[in-house]
């Protein structure tokens, strides 16, 4: 009861402005907050440290100290107790370029350099312009000239001879570049007010989404040619590419649809009210916002598409993974497949990690309210 009275008098006329209390910092505090806050976490931390203590020295011995780095003789590896990284040096050309003609591997190197270089360039927002778009068109042309040959005195190479990392990269780029617009159109179609278009898109998405990628690839590879008239053939690489593209498109479509559903109705109405046509409304108001919302999930799909390229091996295309397993059929080196696969693991990891880091960066930028 007395407190009531004191509250009203205790409020100062104007509380002085103060700066926020200083944050405690330092590594000890960080450790205490993150690793040793409470008994449960402390036990987990100690268990993890113990597990590291038991396994790490052995791994370092195997991977670094006792490892064989350079040799052309697999017997040297057999005598060593550590990893045989020499297998990567010895087999890297088959692993990276598969069945591509040996003397033309420099063309594969150039393709990898072009794709990686252009991707890095595209990551800088400053460089985004029509010129970059033009550069991509030129780069795409260059990639196909280099891979196919037949012009400028380059030896022709059929798509059945393509392989390794260039094949993986081209398959991936084609999947995303072709599948993304298709996915956006499917998502818009599924929300269309025209019943025929809506039914068509919904059916297409649901059917393809209900099939495993392997089934779709088998259909593209084995069944599709049966339906073609005699004498007409469609290149196997192209068939696989289209299958991958469509598979990516239906998943991207559902992700984009999720983004579209998050846009409030008022945005559509405001766009309608200023007399924008459907495509202006969609392209300038709705999609930019929807894609922004869908971005994290889209990057997830893109990373998955990169890893899904390994599936093309089952219809006989030599992507990096298939090329590696082929390279390891050499009886001299067959024992060292772990090292070779670890190298491939690292390769995939570098690509996927780079993509996920970049998308984090883009998301941060967008969160600042900057215009894309």
């Amino acid at each position: 009861m007395t407190a009531r009275g004191s509250i009203s008098t205790a409020i100062p006329v104007s509380a002085a402005r103060r700066s926020a209390p200083a944050m405690e910092s330092g590594i000890v505090l960080w450790l205490r907050r993150n690793l040793f806050n409470g008994l449960y976490n402390t036990v987990l931390t100690l268990l993890a440290l113990w597990a590291l203590f038991v396994t790490l020295p052995d791994f370092i011995n195997w991977a670094v100290i006792d490892a064989v780095w350079h040799t052309q003789d697999s017997k040297v590896c057999r005598q060593a107790s550590g990893a045989c990284w020499a297998v990567v040096a010895e087999k890297h050309r088959v692993m990276l370029f598969g069945t591509f003609p040996y003397d033309e591997h420099w063309r594969g190197v150039l393709v990898i350099a072009i794709v990686v270089g252009m991707s890095v360039m595209s990551a800088f927002r400053r460089l985004w312009s029509y010129r970059l778009f033009g550069a991509w068109l030129v780069a795409t042309g260059a990639v196909f000239v280099l891979l196919l040959g037949g012009v400028f005195g380059l030896t022709p190479v059929g798509t059945h001879q393509w392989g390794g990392l260039p094949l993986t990269l081209v398959m991936f780029a084609g999947t995303v570049v072709g599948g993304m617009p298709a996915g956006v159109l499917l998502a818009l179609g599924r929300r269309s007010s025209l019943p025929a278009i809506r039914a068509l898109c919904t059916g297409f998405i649901e059917i393809l989404r209900g099939l495993p990628l392997i089934t779709i690839l088998f259909m593209a590879s084995l069944m599709f040619p049966l339906f073609l008239p005699e004498g007409v053939t469609v290149d196997k690489f192209l068939r696989a590419q289209i299958a991958m593209m469509l598979f990516f498109a239906v998943y991207a479509a559902e992700v984009v649809r999720g983004g579209l559903q998050a846009i409030p109705r008022g945005q559509y109405e405001a766009a309608d009210a200023i007399g924008l046509s459907y495509w202006h409304k969609t392209g300038r108001i709705i999609l930019p916002q929807a894609l922004r919302i869908a971005l994290p999930a889209l990057v997830n799909e893109i990373i998955r598409a990169f890893k899904n390229t390994t599936f093309v091996s089952i219809i006989g295309l030599f992507d990096v993974l298939r090329a590696t397993s082929t390279a390891l059929q050499d009886p001299l080196w067959v024992l060292y497949s772990i090292e070779a696969y670890l190298f491939i693991f690292l390769l995939y990891f570098v690509f996927c990690f780079a993509m996920s880091k970049y998308s984090e960066h883009v998301e941060r930028d967008l969160a600042k309210g900057r215009n894309l």
Partner: protein, 257 residues
């Protein structure tokens, strides 16, 4: 006006810019608009009020066809509204609309919010659109916010941007759908002031609002709606001093204290 409209015999002589004749609309089985007749002349200011759910928002949303009506005719500046999308887009460019929740485009700057419509829908050159936008931003007293994004503005500022955006296409009619209902009390007046200035400049306006002070000040006609029908329509002096219908009296007694 576009050239392809057929002359409307019933419309010829009148100076009406918006005309509703026997308009009926249902949401499912719910009869939301019941036999609405309303004529708005050029330069006229109409305020529509009524309890929530009375159909007043639906009514003005039918005028630029954000909602479709099922029976009756709506004629805007000589154009009869039909499902023809080209005509609808044409009418929408003559009718500005301001929403309760502003509905600015959050991914575009204030300037882009304003210039997008003229540039895309009317092919106005960018420089001209920007000049027009600056002019309007000055009229709504926020020229300094042109490069900001809607999320950085207060509610009152956002609504003023929304008014400027609606004016960008140089509409012949402005529709306001409860423009101050989502605002904090201290921001209501800055928006009403802009609306009053607009009215004084001779703009034809149809406003759904509960701001009775605004209605008294600028309206030529106050319309009271209840349960989907127009119960009473009169000049503000008459409407507030001598309401005829019981429902109007009840509503006014609840809203004016």
């Amino acid at each position: 006006m576009t050239g392809d409209e057929q002359p409307n015999p019933m419309n010829g002589a009148s100076s009406a810019i918006v005309e509703l004749r026997g308009v009926n609309k249902w949401f499912g089985d719910f009869h939301v608009l019941r036999d609405i007749h309303l004529t708005v002349g050029r330069g006229e200011r109409v305020v529509i009020c009524g309890p929530s759910g009375s159909g007043k928002s639906t009514l003005i949303r039918c005028i630029n066809r954000l909602e479709e009506h099922q029976e009756g005719d709506i004629i805007v500046d000589g154009t009869l509204l039909t499902p023809d999308i080209r005509k609808i887009e044409d009418v929408r460019r003559k009718v500005g609309m301001v929403f309760q929740s502003f509905n600015l485009f959050p991914h575009l700057s204030v300037m882009e919010n304003l210039t997008l419509g003229p540039i895309l829908a009317q092919r106005v050159p960018e420089a001209e659109a920007e000049a027009r936008a600056m002019d309007l931003l000055e009229r709504v007293r926020i020229p300094e916010q042109a490069r900001k994004y809607p999320g950085q503005l207060s509610g009152g500022q956002q609504q003023r941007v929304a008014i400027a955006r609606a004016l960008m296409l140089r509409p012949k009619v402005m529709l306001f759908d409860e423009p101050t209902s989502a605002l904090d009390p201290e921001m209501i007046n800055e928006v009403l002031d802009v609306m009053i200035e607009l009215a004084e400049a001779g703009m034809t306006m149809i406003c759904v609002t509960h701001e009775m002070g605004f209605a008294r000040k600028v309206a030529d006609l106050v319309v009271f709606m209840d349960e989907g029908e127009i119960v009473e329509a009169a000049a503000p002096e008459m409407f507030f001093a001598r309401p005829e219908n019981e429902r109007t009296k009840l509503f006014l007694s609840q809203i004016l204290h």
